[in-house]
C-alpha cells in the first residue's frame, strides 16, 4: 500500500504520525465549529421576517401583469421561449378600440427566465418576489389577469404616466383565487366554469390510440434510413415479446 521507497521503517512511522496529526488537525477544525452559531434558518415558521421581504430587488419570482398599463403589444407572448403567456388582443369591430380579451400566464410551465419582462415596454409585466404557488392540479397554475375584455392602455403625452401598483399586490389577489386551500365557492372563481373542467378532464385523459405504437410507421415522409434500420437489426433481439404482453413488461424487467 505505501510505496516503500527509501526506507520502509521511516514510511511506517511517517504514516502513523501523518494519520494522528491530520486527525488531530481535523478534529480541531470541527471542534472550532462548536463555538460558532449555526447559519440555517427555520423556514417556514420560525424566521424573523418572511423570506419574500428579504429577497433582493431583482429576484425573478412569479410574473405579475398590471393590465392597466398594458398596451397590448404582445411582445412578451412572442419573446417567451416556452409560449406560456396567452395575450389575446382583438379590435372591437364597432368602436375600433383594441380590447384585451385574455391575459393569462401558465406559471406551471414558466421558467422565470425574465425575457418577457425585458421585452415589456411599459413595465406592466414584471417579476414579483412571491414564489410559493404549489397547487393540487397543474391546470390551476394558469393565472388570468383579465376577467372581462378591457380597453388597451394608450400612453398620452397629456396625462402623466399612471403610477404602477406596488409589486405583488395584484398577483397576491390572483393567487388567492387559485390557492389550493381556498374556501370552496369563492365568488368569481374562474375554476367554477363547468365548461373548462369538462374539457380539462377530457383534454388530459383522452384514451390512447389502440394500435400498437411501435409497429406504426413513424416517418411517413422520409423512410427510417437503412443505416439506422441495419443498426437496429444488429441489436440483440430481446426475447420476442409475446404479442399480447405490451412492451412495457419487457422494459420493467430489463
Amino acid at each position: 500500500m505505501t510505496a516503500t521507497r527509501q526506507c520502509p521503517a521511516r514510511d511506517y512511522l511517517r504514516n502513523i504520525w501523518n494519520a494522528l496529526y491530520s486527525t488531530w488537525e481535523g478534529m480541531s477544525v470541527t471542534l472550532s465549529h462548536m463555538y460558532r452559531r449555526p447559519i440555517t434558518t427555520q423556514y417556514p415558521d420560525r424566521i424573523a421576517k418572511p423570506v419574500e421581504d428579504r429577497l433582493p430587488e431583482r429576484y425573478r419570482g412569479i410574473l405579475e401583469a398590471e393590465v392597466d398599463l398594458c398596451t397590448g403589444c404582445q411582445a412578451c407572448a412572442r419573446d417567451c421561449p416556452i409560449g406560456c403567456i396567452d395575450a389575446e388582443v382583438r379590435a372591437d369591430p364597432g368602436s375600433r378600440q383594441r380590447l384585451i380579451h385574455r391575459f393569462s400566464i401558465d406559471i406551471g410551465k414558466c421558467m422565470y427566465c425574465g425575457l418577457c419582462t425585458d421585452a415589456c415596454p411599459s413595465g406592466a409585466l414584471r417579476h414579483t418576489q412571491l414564489f410559493v404557488a404549489s397547487n393540487v392540479d397543474v391546470l390551476n397554475l394558469v393565472i388570468d389577469f383579465v376577467d372581462e375584455p378591457r380597453p388597451v392602455h394608450k400612453a398620452r403625452k397629456s396625462e402623466p404616466a399612471p403610477t404602477p401598483a406596488p409589486r405583488g399586490s395584484i398577483l397576491a389577489g390572483r393567487l388567492a383565487r387559485i390557492a389550493w386551500d381556498r374556501p370552496r365557492d369563492l365568488p368569481g372563481d374562474p375554476r367554477q366554469r363547468p365548461v373548462d373542467i369538462k374539457i380539462a378532464i377530457e383534454g388530459r385523459d383522452r384514451p390512447e390510440a389502440e394500435t400498437d405504437l411501435l409497429a406504426e410507421p413513424m416517418l411517413p415522409a422520409a423512410k427510417a434510413s437503412p443505416a439506422s434500420r441495419a443498426a437496429i437489426a444488429r441489436l440483440p433481439r430481446a426475447e420476442p415479446a409475446p404479442a399480447d404482453a405490451p412492451p412495457e413488461e419487457a422494459k420493467q424487467d430489463a
Binding site: D106, L139, V195, E208, A224, S228
Partner: protein, 174 residues
C-alpha cells in the same frame, strides 16, 4: 496555420485532391470519407501539425441529400486549431470512425449515430448512447416527427392554457 495551407500539406502528403477548403466564417478542410482516417493519422502525427486533441465531433443534417460530420481539432503542443468536414450521402450516411486516432471520439460518434443515424464503421461500440434502444428514428434529423407515445407513455399533451380556456384543437395529429 491557416486551413488553406493545411489542406495543401494534406494534398502533398496523401495525393492531390484529397483535401479542399470549405469557405465559411471559420474555413474548414473538407476531406472525402474514404481518406479520412489516413488524413487524421497524418494530422495527429506530423511534426508540424501535431493535432493531438479532438475537441468536438458534430453531425449536421443537410437535407435533401447530404449529411456532414464536422470535427474540431486542436494542438495542445503548437496551440493552433483546425476544422475538418466530411460530407456523406443522406440515404446511407456512413463515415469511417476516427476512434482509432483519438479514443475520445468514440462517444461523440455514438451520439451522432444515435441522434442522426450516421453509421461509423470501425467504432468499437456503436450503440445508442442517449436514447433507449427501442427508440424509433433519429431526432436531430430535420424531417423527424415524434411518435405519439413511447411504450404507451404519451409524448405530447395539450397546452395547459388552451385546455383551461376550452380551446383545445379537436384531434391531436401529433
Amino acid at each position: 496555420m491557416e486551413a488553406a495551407d493545411i489542406a495543401r500539406l494534406i494534398d502533398e502528403r496523401l495525393g492531390a485532391g484529397t483535401a479542399s477548403v470549405y469557405e465559411d466564417l471559420e474555413p474548414q478542410v473538407a476531406i472525402a470519407p474514404e481518406r479520412l482516417v489516413e488524413a487524421c493519422l497524418y494530422l495527429r502525427d506530423a511534426q508540424e501539425l501535431r493535432f493531438d486533441y479532438m475537441r468536438c465531433l458534430t453531425g449536421l443534417d443537410l437535407p435533401p441529400d447530404a449529411m456532414a460530420v464536422v470535427i474540431h481539432l486542436v494542438s495542445t503542443v503548437l496551440k493552433h486549431r483546425l476544422i475538418l468536414r466530411v460530407e456523406t450521402s443522406r440515404e446511407r450516411p456512413s463515415v469511417p470512425s476516427v476512434e482509432g486516432v483519438w479514443p475520445g471520439a468514440g462517444w461523440f460518434e455514438r451520439e451522432v449515430f444515435d441522434l442522426l443515424g450516421v453509421d461509423f464503421p470501425g467504432n468499437r461500440d456503436l450503440r445508442r448512447i442517449l436514447l433507449p434502444d427501442e427508440w424509433i428514428g433519429h431526432p436531430l434529423r430535420k424531417d423527424y416527427r415524434e411518435s405519439r407515445a413511447f411504450f404507451n407513455i404519451p409524448t405530447r399533451r395539450a397546452e395547459s392554457i388552451r385546455v383551461v380556456h376550452g380551446s383545445v384543437p379537436p384531434a391531436e395529429e401529433g
